[in-house]
C-alpha cells in the first residue's frame, strides 16, 4: 500500500486522476504497440509516433498528478498542457484533412474513440493542479 501511495498519491481526487492517467497510458501504449507491430509498412510513422508520445505523456501525468509535492505538480501541469494542445491540434488537423495519418491515434477526433476523455482529462487535471498548488491558492486570495 505504501508503494501504491508513493506512485498514485494520498487519498483524494488526485489519486483518482492518477489512476485514470495510468489506464490511459495503457490504452495508448497498447495502441502504439499494435500499430508498430502490425502494419508498419502502410501505417504512416506519425500516427504510431503520436500514440507512443501520448502513452509517454499519460505515464508522466500518472506518476505526478496525485502527488502533493509542488515539483511533481509542475511536471504534471506541463504534461496536461502538452496533452491538451496535442488533442486540440490532432483533432483540428483531422477536421481539415479527414484522411490524415493522425486519425488513428488516441487523440484523433478530439478523443472521440475514447469517449472524449482525452480532451476532458487534461482539463480536469489542470483544475486539480490549480487547486492543489499552494502558490496558486495564495495568488488567488486578495
Amino acid at each position: 500500500m505504501a508503494r501504491l501511495s508513493a506512485t498514485f498519491g494520498p487519498p483524494g481526487p488526485g489519486r483518482t486522476l492518477a489512476v485514470a492517467y495510468a489506464i490511459f497510458a495503457l490504452a495508448a501504449g497498447a495502441r502504439s504497440i499494435s500499430q508498430i507491430a502490425g502494419d508498419l509498412g502502410d501505417a504512416p510513422p506519425l500516427s504510431y509516433l503520436l500514440s507512443a508520445l501520448a502513452a509517454a505523456i499519460y505515464l508522466v501525468a500518472a506518476a505526478t498528478i496525485g502527488r502533493p509535492e509542488p515539483s511533481r505538480l509542475r511536471i504534471a501541469r506541463i504534461a496536461c498542457i502538452v496533452e491538451l494542445a496535442g488533442v486540440l491540434a490532432v483533432g483540428t488537423y483531422g477536421l481539415i484533412d479527414p484522411d490524415a495519418l493522425a486519425a488513428g491515434t488516441v487523440w484523433g477526433g478530439f478523443g472521440s474513440g475514447y469517449g472524449y476523455l482525452p480532451l476532458v482529462l487534461p482539463m480536469l487535471g489542470l483544475l486539480r493542479i490549480h487547486a492543489a498548488t499552494p502558490e496558486a491558492g495564495a495568488a488567488d486570495s486578495p
Binding site: L4, F8, P11, P13, R15, I23, A30, S34, A37
Partner: protein, 118 residues
C-alpha cells in the same frame, strides 16, 4: 478464450463500475458489496486469461500476440492495484477510483476478445 465469458466480464464490470460511480456521486466510500463484486470480476478475468494462455499454447494464432498479452496482464492486474487504492480512500474519490478500474477491466475484456478473434 470464451466470448460469453468476455461478455459477462464486460457487462458485470460496467454494472459494478456504474454502481461505484453512483456511490461517488452520492459522496459514499466503497462498500463491502462492491468488494465482493470486485473479487468476482477478478476471478472471471483470471479464468479468461487462463483460457487464453491455454489456447495460445494449443496453437491458436493471433496477429497481435504482444497486444493480447498486454491486455491479459492488464485484465488481471488492474483490480488488485485499484482496489487497495480505492478502499484506502474513505471519501467519494475511493468509489470514483474503483469505477475507473471496473470500467477499464470491462473494456479490456472486449478488446482482448477482438484481438483473439483477429
Amino acid at each position: 478464450m470464451s466470448a460469453s465469458l468476455a461478455t459477462t466480464i464486460a457487462v458485470y464490470g460496467a454494472a459494478v463500475g456504474a454502481w461505484a460511480a453512483l456511490s461517488a456521486l452520492r459522496g459514499r466510500e466503497v462498500s463491502r458489496g462492491q468488494a465482493v463484486s470486485v473479487a468476482i470480476i477478478e476471478v472471471a478475468a483470471l479464468g479468461q486469461a487462463a483460457a487464453a494462455i491455454a489456447g495460445l499454447f494449443r496453437g491458436h494464432e493471433v496477429s497481435e500476440k504482444v497486444v493480447l498479452i498486454a491486455y491479459l496482464i492488464a485484465s488481471v492486474a488492474i483490480l488488485p492495484i485499484v482496489w487497495p487504492l480505492a478502499s484506502d480512500d474513505s471519501s467519494r474519490w475511493g468509489a470514483a477510483t474503483l469505477a475507473l478500474g471496473c470500467v477499464a477491466v470491462a473494456v479490456i475484456a472486449v478488446r482482448a476478445l477482438d484481438v483473439w478473434q483477429g
